[in-house]
């Protein structure tokens, strides 16, 4: 073996043995640096004869190329290994549990959700949404709604009163959202289409009654709306709200001072181990009251009952919320137990829409 071949093989061995980039750089300097072994051989070319230079020059340059190539290849390997080692040292524990995203943890109360569902359905049918104060006058809560003074019908509403003022009149907590209908009729000209959602109060407290509860009432006043329309609207509403294809409803004559004729409405359902299925079964469940607005109410609100007519209905939001979402006890709605709210509440991004579904 020539000296050159030996040198080359020696350098290639050193390259292969270099453990890191610094050692490899040492090998490079020793071979190809200014005072490197191959550089030294190249420096000898000047003293050679042209013939010798031709053969030797080619041989030395070949060796230099081989060494350069080997250096580069080895450098790539070492670099990659160093990166692998660094990445390995950077390992984290990806099984650490996350914090729940706030938008997943937060909850909307079922009552708020159901208010939105109801408003969404009626808005689609062309109804505006009207609201009014909780503290009302006797006139708006009773008298204008055709509850005569002292009439037993007033007793059906166990009313919370405030103390009488200097003029002897006393305010009360509205027992239904009907005063909002009165306010609407007194301030708007027909045609009127509104729903009135809100909080209402009666002195009552047991498993099915709480001193505060919520209602949504509807009112239509125009020149042609009749019981047939009312039945259709309520039927459409119930199908949309309960998210079912069919629902059987029963309209029974009843009595409310502010409507004539008056009806109560039951829906057919089957109750099985706390689960309710609509449109089947033997039970009839009362969900709302309705009727044609009483002529006395129209007159009291400045509307001529021989020209205009219309209908109204009212239903308990708490009640339909309980029915739809399988809530067993009304009182739980106001207990604010976070375990209950987490279970029955809705996530903030579950906004009810008709396009996307009310509850899906």
């Amino acid at each position: 073996m020539t000296d050159l071949a030996q040198l080359e093989s020696q350098i290639l061995d050193q390259i292969a043995a270099a453990g890191d980039e610094a050692a490899l750089e040492g090998v490079r300097v020793a071979a190809l640096g200014k005072k490197g072994s191959i550089s030294a051989l190249l420096a000898t070319l000047g003293k050679m004869s042209p013939e010798e230079r031709k053969t030797q020059g080619a041989a030395i340059n070949l060796a230099k190329d081989k060494v350069t190539q080997a250096l580069s290849a080895r450098r790539d390997i070492l670099k990659s290994a160093a990166l692998d080692a660094r990445l390995a040292s950077e390992t984290i524990d990806v099984t650490l549990p996350l914090r729940e995203a706030p938008a997943e943890a937060g909850r909307i109360h079922p009552l708020s959700q159901v208010f939105e569902e109801v408003n969404t359905i009626f808005a689609d049918m062309g109804f505006a949404i009207a609201e009014g104060p909780d503290i009302e006058t006797d006139d708006y809560n009773f008298t204008k709604l055709n509850f005569p003074e002292g009439h037993p019908a007033r007793e059906m509403h166990d009313t919370f009163f405030f103390n009488p003022g200097e003029d002897g009149s006393r305010m009360l907590l509205r027992t239904h959202t009907s005063p909002v209908q009165v306010r609407t009729m007194l301030t708007q000209k027909p045609p009127i289409r509104v729903v009135c959602p809100g909080r209402t109060y009666r002195i009552d407290s047991d498993a099915t009654h709480t001193p505060q509860f919520h209602q949504v009432e509807g009112l239509v006043i125009d020149k042609g709306s009749h019981l047939g329309h009312l039945k259709w609207i309520l039927h459409e509403f119930c199908k949309a709200f309960f998210e079912v294809d069919h629902i059987n409803m029963r309209f029974r004559p009843s009595f409310f001072p502010f409507t004539e004729p008056s009806l109560e409405v039951d829906i057919q359902c089957r109750r099985d181990k706390g689960e309710i299925r609509f449109g089947e079964g033997e039970d009839w469940l009362e969900i709302l009251g309705c009727g044609m607005v009483h002529p006395n109410v129209l007159r009291a609100c400045g509307i001529d009952p021989d020209v205009y007519q219309g209908f109204a209905w009212g239903m308990g939001i708490d009640r339909i919320a309980m029915l739809k979402y399988g809530i067993a006890d009304l009182r739980q709605l106001f207990e604010n137990d976070v375990r209950w709210l987490n279970h029955y509440g809705f996530k903030p991004l579950d906004v009810p829409t008709l396009a996307g579904g009310l509850s899906t």
Partner: protein
């Protein structure tokens, strides 16, 4: 209103099965609440006689009875605690194994104080046939021993209960119910008419009515020489079948008339009445021992019937004990009267008496039936007790006002959307007792006297529609019209919705608390005014309208902590009350956080755990305000807040001093103590109505986007300032240097501690300078920086940190 099937059939000739009758009742507006078949539930109970009743050897109040249960069986030993368990008594017996409905137990063989008891003698309450639990039942001595009680008592008859609406006083009697059913094609009304009973002598008792408004009509007659005693079996059964207790024939007749004909009556023992009767207002200080054994104190708003000695009866509500009829009564005064509905309702409510008479009179009885009712009662008295009747004294009116309604036949279609032929309308109205004259298009309809609820055209429509059947009204699509589809929510409704979603998106849970709270809690938050205090609260801790949502939320948070869930973040969006006028009611959004329920992350966590602090509340408040559309750039934060907040850890959010939107901070320890809550607890409340309305925009297009072509430059500055200097002032000073060039100033570090004087702090800000027209030179940027340093040091007294 309760009645039995056989009772109904006294008034309705029908072959329809019970279920069909019940369904029809419900569908014509007489909602059947329950159908009870007592015979089934009470089949083990039989009639038995107490052969002997002796003192229990080991118990003063118990007796050991030997009971003959009939059918030749050996006497059964029963230990009984009833005071009326006595030898010879005929009562009701239940053997071991019987389910006792009134006690919800199944009887076993027991040993009571050492004496074996093999069954039970029962009270009416134990059988759930009345409320009466004063001792065991006392049956007539001739009741058949061994026979099933239910069968003997006529309880084999199904009992229907109707949830009667307050307008249908005519159906507080079985006859009225039968009339409705006859109109609905369920049979024929049995109405033989009432023949007057001729008076044999003038009524010796004169009647004076002092106030005709309280008593529009009053009829009275005397029946002399009656023999009172237990009423006959058929009458007793009628009464017991619906849970009434037979008393004596005269009293039973009045109760029967009440339920059979919706005609309450009163009977006085004439021998106990002194002189003439006066219907008048009670005088202050008068009182009456009534038939229920209670003494009522009266006042001039109460209408009474008095004789020459004093009050004998609460008019239309309940008779007096002293003039009541008993087995010694020989002469009876029978009263049939009309009373003012409102006065009856008020008196009944005031005295707390719910009698069958009140129930009917406050709904308004049939005025035209006052005298016929008295005739029918007289006939019954004479049939059951004998005697000779006087003539009838009638004071006031014995009939109501005629009501004739002009009824356009088209009204049915107009209001109900259904075509009903005239012949069908006539048929229905005729069966219900209305008279129809004419053939249209407008007919005259005369309203029967008993339909005190019918006054106008709409009432007639209801009569026709309910009998035809509401299910026959065709559903008619309700066109929404071609109006443009527009949003229907008002500004406040939108703010309400967005506030809720924004807070829930911050991980908070929505609560719904009571609108009323206790007065002390209301006062803590600026409430408790006289006009917001309920006159009749349901409980003392639910007495005053809330001036703030926070007392309710704090209570809810504490209740959760007490259940073991203390890291809670609750919010509520709802009404608060500052006065009793509509404009004093506001929609507020409020929230509380406790423990580790920080907005920086809920609960304890490996990535870092933070206790909530006042700035969490600030963040919540700002999130609500931003979501609700408040002009965020215009909001000012003033340190401090109302007394319920920590004075050094609270802030007020306002747009100028005149428009305070709300507050945030840590609750004051004294407030926490008063609310009984564990701190620290942070809270905010903002009033959504106070947010200024945004300007209406003419177009939905957003304004043009103005992007600068030049790179923004950021420069950091740290200032050493007094600890009392507000970061907000540093930011504002820096911002004010050049409102065009400086687009953002943020605080990225606040440091107190080592290397800084104890009364100082270091506040570091990053200022973004956004060139608009050209790239700024270093000199130009340095000039802005110098101005910032000069302005901040001048305004805050601070120095640039070296």
């Amino acid at each position: 209103m309760k009645f039995t099937l056989s009772w109904l059939k006294e008034h309705l000739d029908t072959d329809e099965p019970l279920e069909k009758l019940a369904d029809k009742l419900t569908m014509i507006g007489l909602e059947v609440e329950s159908i009870e078949d007592k015979a089934k539930a009470l089949s083990p109970f039989s009639i038995a006689r107490v052969i002997s009743a002796e003192q229990h050897p080991n118990a003063d109040r118990l007796r050991v009875c030997m009971v003959d249960t009939g059918n030749g069986a050996a006497p059964v030993q029963v230990v009984c605690g009833a005071p009326n368990a006595r030898t010879g008594l005929v009562s009701v017996f239940s053997p071991p194994g019987t389910f006792i409905p009134g006690k919800n137990i199944t009887l076993g063989v027991g040993t009571i104080r050492g004496v074996e008891s093999r069954g039970m003698l029962c009270s009416a309450a134990e059988l759930e046939i009345s409320e009466d639990h004063d001792g065991i039942m006392e049956l007539p001595a001739d009741a058949p021993i061994g026979k099933g009680y239910a069968e003997w008592a006529g309880l084999g008859d199904p009992v229907l209960e109707i949830n009667l609406t307050p307008n249908r006083q005519d159906c507080t009697g079985v006859h009225g119910i039968a009339r409705d059913l006859s109109a609905a094609d369920m049979g024929k009304l049995i109405d033989p008419g009432i023949k007057p009973v001729k008076g044999e002598f003038p009524c010796p008792v004169k009647v004076t009515v002092e106030d005709a408004a309280l008593c529009p009509g009053f009829a009275l007659r005397l029946v002399r020489g009656v023999k009172n005693g237990p009423s006959p079996e058929w009458l007793q059964k009628r009464l017991t079948s619906i849970g009434l207790r037979p008393i004596n024939a005269l009293v039973d007749i009045t109760n029967f008339m009440t339920y059979d004909r919706a005609r309450p009556l009163h009977v006085f023992d004439a021998k106990k009445v002194n002189g003439n009767l006066t219907v008048r207002r009670a005088k202050d200080g008068e009182s009456l021992l009534a038939l229920d054994g209670r003494t009522y104190t009266l006042d001039p708003n109460i209408c009474v019937i008095s004789d020459e000695h004093g009050v004998e009866s609460l008019a239309g509500i309940m008779g007096g004990e002293t003039s009541g009829c008993d087995e010694n009564t020989t002469d009876v005064l029978v009263e049939s009267a009309l009373w003012n509905e409102i006065n009856i309702a008020q008196t009944g409510r005031k005295l707390g008496i719910n009698s069958d008479a009140r129930y009917r009179f406050e709904r308004g009885v049939d005025p035209a039936f006052m005298v016929p009712g008295l005739e029918l009662a007289t006939k019954l008295v004479m049939e059951l007790c004998g005697g000779t009747p006087s003539e009838t004294v009638v004071v006031g009116k014995a009939f109501g006002d005629d009501r004739i309604i002009d009824f356009p036949l088209s009204e049915v279609k107009r209001l109900a959307g259904i075509e009903v032929p005239l012949v069908e309308m006539r048929r229905i109205l005729g069966h219900l007792g209305f008279m129809v004259a004419g053939s249209g298009p407008v007919v005259k309809v005369a309203v029967p006297s008993w339909r005190t609820d019918v006054h106008g055209k709409a009432d007639i429509v209801e009569e026709i529609v309910r009998i035809v059947g509401v299910d026959k009204v065709p559903m008619t699509p309700f066109e929404r019209g071609d109006d443009a589809r527009k949003p229907v929510l008002t500004t406040i409704q939108l703010r309400n919705r967005r506030a809720k979603r924004a807070l829930a998106a911050r991980g908070m849970v929505e609560a719904v608390t009571w609108s009323f709270i206790s007065k002390p809690h209301a006062e803590l938050f600026g409430g408790g005014q006289a006009e917001l205090a309920l006159a009749n609260p349901i409980a003392s801790d639910l007495s005053d309208m809330r001036p703030s949502l926070l007392p309710g939320l704090v209570a809810a948070a504490q209740a959760n902590a007490n259940r073991g869930y203390s890291d809670v973040a609750l919010f509520e969006v709802g009404q608060i009350f500052r006065g009793d006028k509509p404009e004093d009611q506001f929609v507020a959004a409020a929230g509380v956080r406790h423990g580790f329920a920080s907005s920086k992350g809920m609960g304890r966590h490996w990535s870092g755990s933070a206790m909530t602090d006042a700035l969490d509340a600030k963040a919540d408040a700002f999130a609500v305000l931003a979501a609700a559309g408040a002009p965020m750039q215009a909001l000012q934060i003033v340190p401090g807040g109302p007394a319920w907040l920590h004075p050094g850890r609270s802030g007020t959010i306002q747009i100028g001093p005149q428009n305070v939107l709300g507050h945030f901070g840590e609750l004051h320890p004294r407030t926490l103590e008063a609310l009984g809550a564990d701190g620290p607890l942070i809270a905010f409340e903002v009033i959504l109505d106070r947010i200024p309305d945004a300007k209406k925009k003419a177009t939905r297009a957003k304004p043009l986007l103005d992007l600068s072509a030049f790179q923004p430059v950021s420069r950091d500055f740290a200032f050493i300032v007094d600890r009392t200097v507000k970061a907000g002032d540093i930011v504002r000073s820096a911002q004010s240097v050049d409102k065009k060039l400086i687009t953002d100033v943020t605080v990225f570090d606040v440091y107190e501690g080592k290397g800084i004087d104890p009364d100082k702090k270091s506040v570091a800000i990053a200022v973004t300078i956004q060139p608009r027209e050209k790239t700024l030179t270093d000199q130009e940027i340095d000039a802005v920086a110098a101005k910032i340093v000069a302005e901040v040091t001048k305004k805050t007294g601070g120095t640039l940190r070296a």
